[in-house]
Symmetry: C2
Subunit: 350 residues, 2 copies
């Protein structure tokens, strides 16, 4: 039976934990709000479930709690931020806000990061475009390599995600948030926890045969979407988010699941497109409404009850969870209780 | 037995055909060079094989031979071009050159098109970044819908391709050029011509079952890469290249294989990233060299002889074909001879 927690309580708990860990209160509140928002939209592999890991890394000295985030390169349409090894949420929130400001003038702006860290779900930062009637794009180098080059055995690439958020008028925004692998590694871990097998196509073993047992995940690799195409896409996302920014890519990527102390030099990038530069955003949003309805109203294959837009299931979760509370599995709640005990703060559920 | 044609002769033949069809000589030379370049790099579904179709469309009045390509919107980092229903090659070449100029100042620039037309392989325009030490991105709405929304039956989306070109130092540039479907529609047509079956995963029928016979292609759909992920990616590419530009998307897309006369209002977009804005392009290219070598030198799966970089096979073809000539299949040569006869120009092979 899952417990249900309000967004406000979850955010408060996370902020309190970070404060106790030594993070300045203002920063703790910002990171907590973004992590709780991840859970609110159902990105549960990237929300509060990461708190024990972040705490471990902070205690190991792997994160700078008082980063001086600096602009190291800048032009009218771009900036490169040095995150000073701070929490990725702080770095990428600043990057997104900066890109919005720049895009107002130039029509499009791109802000990348070096020396950032894991920042939660990609869609959080792409979505920051929406209140400004902009389209947001986000690219990141994942924080552990699980993917070899196509045909290879050495895990040199990560699940390098892409997110794109597009505002609509009466319809909900279209929000794509996808790893360039068939399954994100978090989904494999969830299958293992539940004692289930993986479907064919998620992973393969070192002989190229399907790997179905998630407990054997370390013996194989994630599969890229579309075979060699997803390999290429993961590589390109890694170049745009990592290599271009002077951040880690390829062999340089630190596996932050197994290493709490090394500086990850995580690279991410956000790009904002000011729709008004192309004409008028109201007209654009009406055209998106029309497109969404055309797709949704398509005739369906046998057995298909509904055609989903990218991001629509997250939006429904956001509405449901805001009303009814965010469900947290017993094992997660237990690990958060343990952390609360260690930190001497109130448990999530009083 | 394939005939082999030099790049120069192929370009001359195409330019001559367009001139005879009424295209101004300068434009004919530009389009011919880009089409011949497509064949030279092995993008043989998008090169001279399209000439008979383009000729048919020109004669049907479906293309404006004297377009006034206009900038309809502009800011420091962006422009929107109205292609005036001219050949897409002319519109997107202009877009790419304009984006390069703008990116020199702003660091990144994005130029989109409306009222453009089919422009050949996506990589042609992304690659225009390379001589300027820039990264080039290209997005396009395909010119025929072959993809329903995930779970749907109505073909509302196209193969909407993405191309990205990244300069390297001593290594060849990394060039990704991919449809968001597992197979491009041209590959299905090629299988049908050769009387071969398609592998499972390329297409499905209206019940969701694998479709293997390419002669039955009209009874089914192309499959997106990664299932619902590729559906989302195709939709997003279509929004960026089509909807944002006020170009055709969804139901508005004209199937240019079956309709020679209607204005297609094709939308495309090119984005140029000036690497020097991020630091120094020489250092970047060295880092790409290192990354390419790491990937190439990965241990390999049993039976795999070589690990390929995106774009590497095209580069090898470009070198081979420049030396030995471009191979053209007998059926293609026959269709070009027929066209030459109709136009009263010399055949490709004297």
């Amino acid at each position: 039976m899952n417990a249900k927690i309000s967004f406000d309580r979850l955010r408060e708990f996370i902020a309190c934990a970070f404060s106790k860990l030594g993070m300045p209160d203002g920063d703790a509140r910002i990171v907590a709000a973004l992590m709780a928002e991840a859970d609110l939209q159902g990105s549960d592999g990237h929300g509060v479930i990461r708190l024990p890991q972040y705490a471990r890394r902070i205690r190991a000295g792997g994160v700078n709690l008082s980063p001086q985030i600096k602009v190291v390169r800048e032009r009218a349409g771009m900036a490169l931020l040095d995150g000073d090894n701070g929490m990725g949420h702080l770095v990428m929130r600043r990057a997104a806000l900066m890109a919005v400001e720049k895009a107002r003038n130039t029509g499009i702006a791109w802000v990348g990061s070096q020396f950032s860290n894991h920042a939660g779900p990609a869609s959080l930062y792409a979505r920051m475009a929406l209140p400004h009637d902009m389209i947001g794009l986000y690219f990141a180098v994942g924080n552990a390599n699980h993917l070899p080059p196509w045909g290879g055995l050495d895990m040199l690439l990560s699940t390098n995600p892409i997110a794109v958020a597009v505002p609509a008028g009466e319809e909900a925004a279209v929000v794509l948030d996808m790893a360039t692998t068939v399954a994100a590694y978090g989904k494999v871990k969830a299958k293992a926890q539940r004692g289930e097998l993986m479907p064919e196509g998620w992973m393969m073993d070192r002989e190229g045969k399907p790997l179905l047992d998630p407990k054997r995940a370390e013996e194989g690799f994630l599969l890229p979407i579309g075979g060699y195409k997803g390999y290429g896409l993961s590589l390109i996302v890694g170049i745009l988010a990592g290599t271009l920014n002077g951040a880690a890519m390829g062999r340089e990527v630190i596996d932050f699941n197994h290493d709490d102390a090394s500086v990850t030099n995580t690279g991410q990038a956000v790009c904002m497109i000011d729709i008004d530069a192309w004409g008028d955003s109201a007209g654009f949003k009406t055209r998106i409404d029309t497109l969404v309805r055309e797709l949704r109203d398509s005739r369906r294959m046998p057995g298909v009850e509904r055609i989903w837009m990218p991001g629509e299931q997250s939006r429904i979760k956001r509405e449901d969870y805001a009303r009814e509370g965010i469900p947290l599995a017993p094992a997660l709640l237990e690990s958060l209780d343990k952390l609360a005990g260690e930190l001497g703060i109130s448990r999530l559920l009083a």
